[in-house]
Symmetry: C2
Subunit: 505 residues, 2 copies
Amino acid sequence: MAIGFQFIISLFSLFSVTIAFAPILPRFPSSAVSAELKHRSHCTQNGLYRTKFFTQILDHFNFNPQSTQTFQQRYLINDTFWGGAKKNAPIFVYTGNEGNIEWFTQNTGFMFENAPPFQALLVFIEHRYYGKSIPYGGNKAVAYANTSTLGYLSSTQALADYATLIIDLKKNLSAHDSPIVVFGGSYGGMLAAWFRMKYPHIAIGALASSAPILHFMDLVSPDIFISIITQDFKSESENCYKVLKGSWKLIEETAKKPGGMELLRKTFRICKSDDFGTDSLASWLRTAWIYTAMTDYPTPSNFLNPLPPYPVKKMCEAIDSSVTKNNTLGKLYAAANVYYNYTGTTTCFNLDDDSDPHDLGGWQWQACTEMIMPVGGSNKNSIFPEYEWLYEDREAYCDSFYNVTPRPYWITTEFGGHAIDRVLKRFASNIIFFNGLRDPWSGGGVLKTISKSVVAIVAERGAHHVDLRYSSKEDPKWLKDIRKQEVKIIASWISQYYRDLKTNS
Amino acid sequence: MAIGFQFIISLFSLFSVTIAFAPILPRFPSSAVSAELKHRSHCTQNGLYRTKFFTQILDHFNFNPQSTQTFQQRYLINDTFWGGAKKNAPIFVYTGNEGNIEWFTQNTGFMFENAPPFQALLVFIEHRYYGKSIPYGGNKAVAYANTSTLGYLSSTQALADYATLIIDLKKNLSAHDSPIVVFGGSYGGMLAAWFRMKYPHIAIGALASSAPILHFMDLVSPDIFISIITQDFKSESENCYKVLKGSWKLIEETAKKPGGMELLRKTFRICKSDDFGTDSLASWLRTAWIYTAMTDYPTPSNFLNPLPPYPVKKMCEAIDSSVTKNNTLGKLYAAANVYYNYTGTTTCFNLDDDSDPHDLGGWQWQACTEMIMPVGGSNKNSIFPEYEWLYEDREAYCDSFYNVTPRPYWITTEFGGHAIDRVLKRFASNIIFFNGLRDPWSGGGVLKTISKSVVAIVAERGAHHVDLRYSSKEDPKWLKDIRKQEVKIIASWISQYYRDLKTNS
């Protein structure tokens, strides 16, 4: 779920996955950009897209003139392969997530690779309050200043933004009859699915990749996220699982011994300037295990950090290696090194790096208001210490941080979730829910096909929205097949739309 | 569309259908209440329902604590015939319109009459800002004070109210698996249809009666409303049409003659205290023709005013009558008398009666923000003077009255409307759109069946949501048949739901 999906603070537990914690983020620009596209594109900025801004309404649901301020919403556009308005050529729209849209765009090669065969216009819309799409004149300090200015940051407002922008764009392009297909991964995938559900008059279909639309209260076990991560590591080796499971106690015991903290500093190459504690070391390791499980891609990647193919396997290989023998701390370091230092260029680590290069900070507000996604519960079989997820902890945190009370049942009120198969069977069409079962977020995904055109695609070996990534020659067959299947389904939506259009006119 | 649907002021035209004009409203309590129900009901207040209040969130789409004030939303409930939660017996919900919910409840006999066969719980929810459902502590003066307090009066907020209240009510009743069917007429019918579209996880189906969801800009001719009224009168007699068409000039000419105003006062029995002008007389007559066309029911009724069966016919009979011979003004008075004085108890009329017994005043705000329904254009064949409906007039009026600028394209952005058949064919089910073609609002209705379960029922002789009214022995066969058809369809939704429920569990 990218790092926007973070956890509830538990200040007194070693296991303190947090809302506020910003994990270590990728430091290198994405290299996975198709060279061909780069050069064929007539875009100026970076070969992938032109950057535009749209004057967006701040509050779609209130007509008080004081609430109808506007802001500049960024979107990225690539018309290199577009067949044009006269042909009613399709428009592919990415419904932006909780961060800088450029980052998601660069990691959504699927759309770029499918623009030529579909002759599609590509549009990537940034989510309000993220990246450069900041209300209050683009002044982030003001926009994030208090609950009054943050109040307009919500999923319903974001969906209405997308509706408003798309309609205006089609009007400007005179592309009234061009079909819109929406795409999104993670929270962006939730928005894509919800957009098709709420705005079927605008989008003819949605590819919702790794979209945990069921990851809400009373719908999912708060343990499932960590259970899946545990299973990921356990599936590589039983020893890997045991070492990770025992590590927290080992770190605490080591720290208590004379010279223990120095041993930890040396083993984990923690910078001398970092006045660390066992909590921050545990958090640093936890981050590595969680995000590596999420991005356990079959080919080299650079989404959160640069990683080798199947990095979970690599971590477990490091743990199981005979090189480190009985040096368990050394094994943990070697595993962490896969996530933090695959390029091998880092000489020491600052555990509390709270930089936020993808501008994901706004998620904390969303997690304190409507996005009450129970995540981080850890049962006794988990690789993490036991931990009970409690709504009350979230409520207390949000009250103390923002003086705001979450609405834990709002999302299911607005978008549903209960008995989703029964509901969508009778009132939906043209949605693909992709999930990779290695991805801890798959626990809140739609994993069963609901109807002929509301289809679940499940990849046993897949990770977080792996289908949306650029293809590579090294992709395994299952991934190639899944992308082919998705393309075929999207093509069928578009054909159906053109048939309907012809019949009507 | 009840009197909430009013028109744009045109101060300089004789033909000044207005937004602000509150027509004469019924002065007598509804007599069309089934005696049987009255007595079998164990409800206290009036034999039809108990009155309850729900603590509702003021702003569903903003999490700023200052916006999350609550207000008391009224709803009426009748559980006399409910089969109960254990049986998963259905719940019929009326999605309240722009006025006092008691009035709509009393005029929705269809739900009361179908509660016993369906063993249904009946719930009638009042729309925010109307009746007793007033934010700001129920203080209407505050709630209507300015654009800031009125800002929360919108259709999207109202729909979210219904979703929130229904979920809470089901929880309280432990009726998790009871199917919800929503009903509504006029604006309430628009809300019922939109509720099924936006909240299919809450309502399994919607009966949207006389719901002009297509009566928006770029979708409908602004002349259509008046054209239908013209046709209603013309269909009774060509002479009736001609007399009405010529009346405006006649009134103006009469007024200019010496003693003309006194003649008009005498003819139309205008009270001595009423310092009237030709504008107010014209407005008074126009109101009578419009609302009589809307409520041209086949049996005696008392929705807007007490009326005989087929009152348009009665009006034309009065105009065509040989009793008034060549006294054209007398003919007009006799026709108006059908609407204003069918009971014969009124001795003189105050033309500018602006009482608002059904509390419909909030519509003006809605008509100045999102409900830009082009109504009132009058072409050269109309019974009214020629008049061009212009969006700019609305804009100017709303700017001067509220200092607010309408968003004329918001409703179609949020709910769709363009190519509705194509959209709903692929993404909708279980909606009945009823329209009576005598009803001027049918011009913006869905008149063609879209799919197997998105069905248009059209009654050539029908008026404004006639199907929802209490049945009577005098009902014509077509009306009985239509109600039977509606019941059959609703029964099929419920059966399908129970089958789905069984399959799933």
